[in-house]
């Protein structure tokens, strides 16, 4: 039985092509006949503005006296580096293996109130892992269906909001509670596209009101409603990891190049000893970018070779709508350097690719 977003009826009315995302029936793209499709939606975000329903994302809270200090001893990044009203990208690792249970965004509302956005399919695992070790007085609540998440992304995103009477002067990764046309919502300067953008978290029951305002507001800027297909090509162009691909219980933060999201000075966090060991001794594989040098389009699971030797595997790959060529993220042997040329086994054909350091297109988030 698939779960449905509070905007499901809107997607059906738009004839969206739906697909399963972590147990949720979500739009992958909107019909080409109405100007949609992955490429059109992708380019709308890069050049103008797009809105996404990402209500399948998890929501949870860790509340109670000392919640911040408690959570900070579990997650990789350091919550004391941000102030109340700011959000942070972080990871929750398995303490023994050092692998990643999930990567998530933590909203620091106060030292006793943290709001979490885990991935849809990992929400239960995150909530369970944290609750199991929560001391008396600190509670962890799964709020998956209490809030919707609607992203508005692209260079015109702030103009759309301004026309709707919202002029959030938010720094990157800062959030605030606002009302949009009378509807209260949290708004955060975050996203998963590499463009200037916002994520809005209205109450589940208010999602349609916010969606309808934004869907109307983007028209003036020739914006588009966008599915999760475009979200994936946008994030791949930025080299952003997706759990289950670039991060997983068998892939550590150091292997995925996510050491920037580790608070090294913290006395403890889950997976610290593994992360430190990999920092000193080097990881046995590293996440790199690959750019096709021919018409081949790399896909997840394909082998990467140097000569006859297998030196790694593609974790995510696609046709880049911006560059109009194949791009991929791959876990490669650490001796392979940026600038090397490797081959990808594309269903039995050899395709050559250049090893790069993502992003593949410039970031405009700040």
């Amino acid at each position: 039985m698939s779960l449905h977003s509070p905007l499901h009826q809107r997607h059906l009315a738009l004839n969206a092509k739906l697909a399963d995302f972590g147990g949720w029936d979500m739009p992958i793209e909107y019909p080409a006949a109405q100007g949609g499709g992955v490429i059109a939606e992708h380019l709308a975000v890069r050049e103008r503005v797009g809105i996404f329903d990402v209500s399948h994302l998890g929501k949870a809270e860790v509340v109670g006296n000392g919640a911040l200090d408690f959570l900070n001893e579990l997650i990789t990044n350091d919550l004391t580096k941000i102030a109340d009203g700011q959000a942070q990208y972080t990871m929750l690792c398995d303490d023994k293996s050092g692998g990643v249970i999930d990567d998530l965004i933590v909203y620091r509302k106060s030292a006793s109130n943290l709001f979490l956005i885990p991935n849809a399919s990992n929400t239960t695992a995150v909530v369970t892992a944290i609750s199991e070790v929560a001391p008396p007085g600190i509670t962890v609540n799964n709020l998956h269906k209490d809030f919707a998440v609607i992203a508005i992304q692209g260079p015109n995103s702030k103009d759309v909001l301004a026309k709707l009477g919202v002029s959030p002067t938010l720094d990157y990764m800062a959030f605030a509670e606002i009302t949009l046309d009378g509807t209260p919502t949290i708004i955060c300067r975050t996203g998963y596209t590499g463009e200037h953008g916002y994520e809005l978290l209205p109450a589940w029951s208010e999602a349609e009101k916010i969606w309808d305002r934004l869907a109307e507001g983007i028209k003036e800027f020739n914006g588009r409603v966008c599915g999760l297909g475009a979200r994936d090509t946008l994030r791949t162009e930025m080299g952003y990891p997706l759990h289950g691909h670039e991060l997983s219980l068998s892939i550590t933060p150091m292997q995925a190049g996510a050491s920037w999201a580790i608070g090294w000075k913290k006395p403890k966090f889950w997976g610290k000893s593994i992360a430190e060991s990999e920092k000193i001794n080097g990881a046995h594989r590293l996440l790199r970018g690959l750019k096709s040098l021919d018409r081949g389009i790399p896909r997840g699971g394909m082998q990467v070779k140097l000569g006859e030797k297998v030196i790694g595997e593609i974790t995510s790959g696609t046709f880049s709508p911006t560059l109009r060529e194949g791009v991929a993220l791959a876990l490669l042997d650490p001796t392979i350097a940026v600038g090397d040329t490797v081959t990808i086994d594309v269903r039995g054909r050899e395709s050559s690719a250049l090893v790069t350091k993502p992003p593949f297109v410039p970031s405009h988030v700040k």
Binding site: K17, I28, E29, A32, G37, V38, I39, A40, G229, T233, R295, I297, R299, T318, F319, P321, R347
Partner: protein
């Protein structure tokens, strides 16, 4: 509703076929239903000119932003022409699957096979 022109023949693998130089040269492509299901097409691996292809065997690939699908030869024959325009503009398969988005022309030896393929009505039933 996908477009299914009456004058074409179809396969259950969502290819279409029409005789262009009667009786022996047929033009093939993928159907409107197929292109719509695939989404934005970004690359087409076409068969090679002169290649002998066999009915129901894989003779190429259509790659969209999301996935890859194989093209099955609707008939046995020799590839006479491929649509070179698709190398530069693969999206023609999305916009004109039965026109500028044709994929290859094949010379066949046994014209009777055409009649054995699905009619428009039969293909409509299949995709309903």
């Amino acid at each position: 509703m996908s477009l299914i022109p009456e004058e074409l023949r179809y396969t259950k693998e969502h290819e279409w076929l029409v005789a262009t130089e009667i009786p022996t040269i047929v033009r093939v492509g993928i159907t409107d239903f197929a292109q719509s299901a695939l989404g934005d097409i970004v690359y087409i691996q076409m068969p090679k000119i002169g290649e002998n292809i066999k009915a129901d065997a894989v003779c190429g690939e259509v790659e969209s932003t999301k996935s890859v699908s194989e093209i099955y030869a609707p008939v046995t024959g020799v590839v006479k022409r491929v649509n070179e325009a698709l190398n530069k503009n693969p999206e023609l398969v999305n916009s004109e699957p039965y026109g500028q988005g044709w994929i290859a022309e094949i010379e066949i030896s046994d014209v009777s096979v055409i009649e054995k393929l699905l009619s428009a009505a039969e293909y409509r039933t299949l995709t309903a």
